[in-house]
């Protein structure tokens, strides 16, 4: 039975897709929002220590499930493995209504002006596809503001002298500093740095009809039982549904964008909650599945006109997969830092995002969210032993007297770090799965080593009596901060979408999520994804003429 035609199908209800669905529905378009996962609540996830979106020993609490969503990952040595969704190395973000925003840590960063002009700022970096964005910070500024006010951000970045200009302050004040922040702030000031309260998508006061944070500490990786954490699932998606123009279909897995004989999108083919194959006809299609799955969906949408996949005439779909390289420093103190005050992270500096001698870019540094004890074990230095009395004593002595500082290093994109579709392995529905390969650029690791040193210096100044650093290896990035696989740009030969997130070759297909990031900033990416979604939606609505785009 054919489904009734709608104006738009949005695939994926995460940060990008949730916003687009609401903007289009409010503009009067009839929208179907397809989500492969379910509507997961705090009750379902029960804040289990070993089963959440950060510690997945017992599985992903926010999807996707282990049984039906394999991926193939090729490591640096060429070894190929088929992984389950909760295994390390799968590069998961999430699979539920709200996508990553249902369980994230909720840092809400605006990128800096230079983050959109990396190539002009630093020049070409050999071996990297480093490039400028086709839009500027100023273009996005009003939409950053819209995201901050509509989704809801608390914090105070007035102390951040490096921040890009903003017209309006954040809508909510910061949460009170926890003990770590109280120790780190004066230390940063003594070092001549510029610390401030991290902007967070979290209610510090009642806002938008939801209560304030109760500081429970089980925050990053979990759902919030009082709904103080702001994601698309408790803001724009309910607003979209309220218009009466948007239908959310959960547990529906899109397999392909359908194309007509002229090469324009005709709708989306998907498998519904009962496993039935369906075709949803639509005037336009928005792909918002997060960087890895969006690339996979385009690559799986082959036709006579696009034998290598939709929008992939020049082999750029799936390229430049990136995330963030997180160097960290840990410190032990002879006083207690543990005060059980969630969400944990609270203080940051942006002194090292740019202008580091001889280096391209950098990243912000902040204290860590949480280190639940079983996570802290992974950081116990080798000298304490890996088992036995010494190990246990180390935990007892230092767990409450330790902290970490870390930061997301802006990565140098690599053409060969990529998403393909696997020629053999298929998922539960018979759809070819994503196949990931590649690694990090050496310069990214160089910046990461430098940043680890800066993080360590901050901890030392704060009084750490023993410190050590951890710098990630050269393996592929992606994961929760995955981005870059459908780059936006002015030249159709070296990018996939234009500055409005519209696929170059096909004017009624849009990619609106982290995929379009040319570079991923030295910051967690979600607020930029949200701002882009508002920006691209505004343009889409402006050019929309009843059933088609004005050309």
């Amino acid at each position: 039975m054919a489904l009734e035609r709608v104006n738009a199908v949005v695939v994926g209800s995460g940060a990008g897709g949730g916003i687009v669905a609401k903007e289009l529905a409010q503009a009067g378009l009839r929208v179907v929002l397809l989500e492969r996962g379910s509507w997961v609540t705090a009750y379902d996830c029960r804040k289990d220590d070993l089963r959440n979106q950060r510690t997945t020993v017992l599985g992903n609490a926010f999807g996707p499930d282990d049984e039906r969503h394999p991926r193939v990952v090729v490591d640096e040595s060429g070894r190929e493995r088929t992984l389950r969704a909760s295994e390390p190395g799968y590069h998961n973000n999430a699979g539920c209504v709200g996508g990553g925003t249902a369980s994230y840590g909720a840092m809400a960063w605006r990128f800096m002006e230079k983050d959109f002009r990396m190539r002009s700022t630093y020049g070409a970096v050999p071996g990297s596809t480093l490039e400028d964005w086709p839009l500027s910070y100023a273009d996005l500024e009003p939409y950053y503001e819209k995201a901050e006010w509509e989704i809801g951000v608390s914090g105070d970045d007035a102390g951040n002298v490096f921040r890009a200009p903003r017209r309006r302050p954040l809508p909510m004040p910061p949460l009170p500093p926890n003990r770590e922040c109280q120790v780190l702030r004066p230390a940063a000031l003594r070092l001549g740095l510029h610390p401030f309260d991290i902007p967070m998508l979290r209610n510090s006061v009642p806002y938008n009809g939801r209560p304030a944070c109760m500081r429970c500490r089980w925050c990053v990786g979990f759902a919030c039982e009082v709904d103080a954490k702001c994601g698309t699932q408790n803001t724009v998606i309910p607003a979209a549904l309220k218009t009466g123009n948007c239908e959310l279909r959960c547990d529906c897995v899109a397999g392909q964008v359908l194309l007509d004989e002229r090469g324009r999108a005709a709708g989306v083919a998907y498998f519904d909650a009962r496993g039935r194959y369906r075709e949803q006809p639509a005037d336009l299609v928005v792909v918002s599945c997060a960087a890895i799955e969006s690339a996979r969906l385009l690559l799986n949408s082959r036709s006579r006109l696009f034998p290598k996949g939709l929008g992939n005439r020049h082999d750029w779909v799936g390229r430049n997969l990136q995330g963030h390289t997180y160097p960290r420093a840990a410190g032990l103190f002879d006083f207690e830092l543990y005060d059980d005050q969630g969400p944990g992270a609270g203080i940051a500096v942006c002194d090292y995002n740019h202008g580091n001698p001889g280096l391209a870019g950098g990243g912000m540094l902040a204290n860590e969210f949480i280190r639940l004890p079983y996570q802290f074990v992974a950081q116990v230095p080798r000298s304490a032993g890996r088992w036995g009395r010494g190990h246990k004593e180390f935990m007892r002595k230092w767990y409450r007297r330790s902290m970490s500082v870390m930061g997301p290093v802006q990565e140098m994109p690599m053409f060969d770090s990529r998403v393909e579709v696997d020629p053999v392995v298929k998922d539960h529905w018979g759809i070819p799965v994503a196949r990931l390969s590649g690694g990090k650029h050496p310069h990214t690791l160089e910046v990461a080593r430098y940043m680890a040193g800066k993080a360590e210096a901050w901890l030392k100044e704060a009084g750490a009596i023993h410190t050590w650093t951890v710098v990630p290896g050269p393996g592929l990035s992606g994961g929760q901060h995955q981005a870059g696989t459908c780059r936006m740009g002015g030249d159709p030969r070296t990018s996939v979408v234009n500055r409005y997130c519209q696929v170059h070759d096909v004017d009624n297909v849009f990619v609106i999520d982290g995929s379009v990031h040319v570079t991923n900033g030295g910051f967690n990416p979600v607020l930029t994804i949200m701002a882009l979604a508002y920006y691209a939606s505004a343009h889409l609505v402006k050019t929309w003429k009843g059933t088609r785009m004005r050309s």
Partner: protein, 199 residues
């Protein structure tokens, strides 16, 4: 309880090799595992659901070595780590294979080196072998499987201990207890009001 177990067991079919850090245990929770173990122990002495008596003794010895009891607090055995692992293994053929294979390797290796099963070996010999397989830098084709197994044994022992009441107490950590009410701390409200310019 038993219904839950059935559902989760059905979910684990399919799938190939198992990497550290991921058990194919959807619909399974740490609290659930601890609680199931506690209920079982309340009925009388624990009878392993999955492991043979010899395997279970070895598993318990390992847990005891990894996190021993000391003058401050009970260790992983008192905190129920062997039962926790037994419960998870009874729900996951892949994990079960990791542990049966690993425990057999451990016994084989101690027999070869010290002519005794692991539980019967001298404490010094047990420690020497653990010190070899506890570190990736000792990786050789011969020790590889042992190193792989130790990662799993350590991880699950630690996970079980630090999610148990005994482990949480040992750290003076508050743990993730159930809350009777959901309220915003007063200081947080006052601070926010002050910073907002409204207070």
């Amino acid at each position: 309880m038993s219904e839950n177990r059935e559902t989760s067991r059905r979910g684990f079919l399919g799938a190939a090799g198992l990497a550290l850090g991921a058990l194919p245990l959807n619909a399974q929770h740490a609290h659930h595992a601890h609680q199931a173990v506690r209920q079982e122990k309340a009925k009388g002495p624990y009878r392993p659901r999955f492991f043979t008596p010899q395997e279970y003794r070895t598993l318990a010895k390992l847990a005891d070595l990894i996190i021993p009891a000391d003058e401050h607090s009970p260790g992983a055995v008192e905190a129920g780590a062997p039962e926790f692992i037994d419960f998870l293994a009874s729900n996951s053929p892949e994990l079960a294979a990791v542990f049966t294979g690993g425990l057999a390797w451990l016994d084989g290796e101690t027999k070869r080196r010290y002519s005794a099963a692991f539980v019967d070996a001298k404490p010094g010999d047990q420690a020497a072998l653990l010190d070899l397989i506890a570190y990736r830098r000792n990786d050789t084709p011969e020790l590889g499987p042992g190193i792989e197994f130790f990662e799993w044994a350590r991880k699950l022992t630690v996970d079980a201990f630090y999610t148990s009441p005994e482990g949480i107490k040992d750290l003076g950590f508050q743990g993730n207890g159930a809350m009777a009410e959901f309220s915003v701390p007063r200081e947080a409200v006052e601070y926010a009001l002050k910073r907002s310019g409204l207070g």
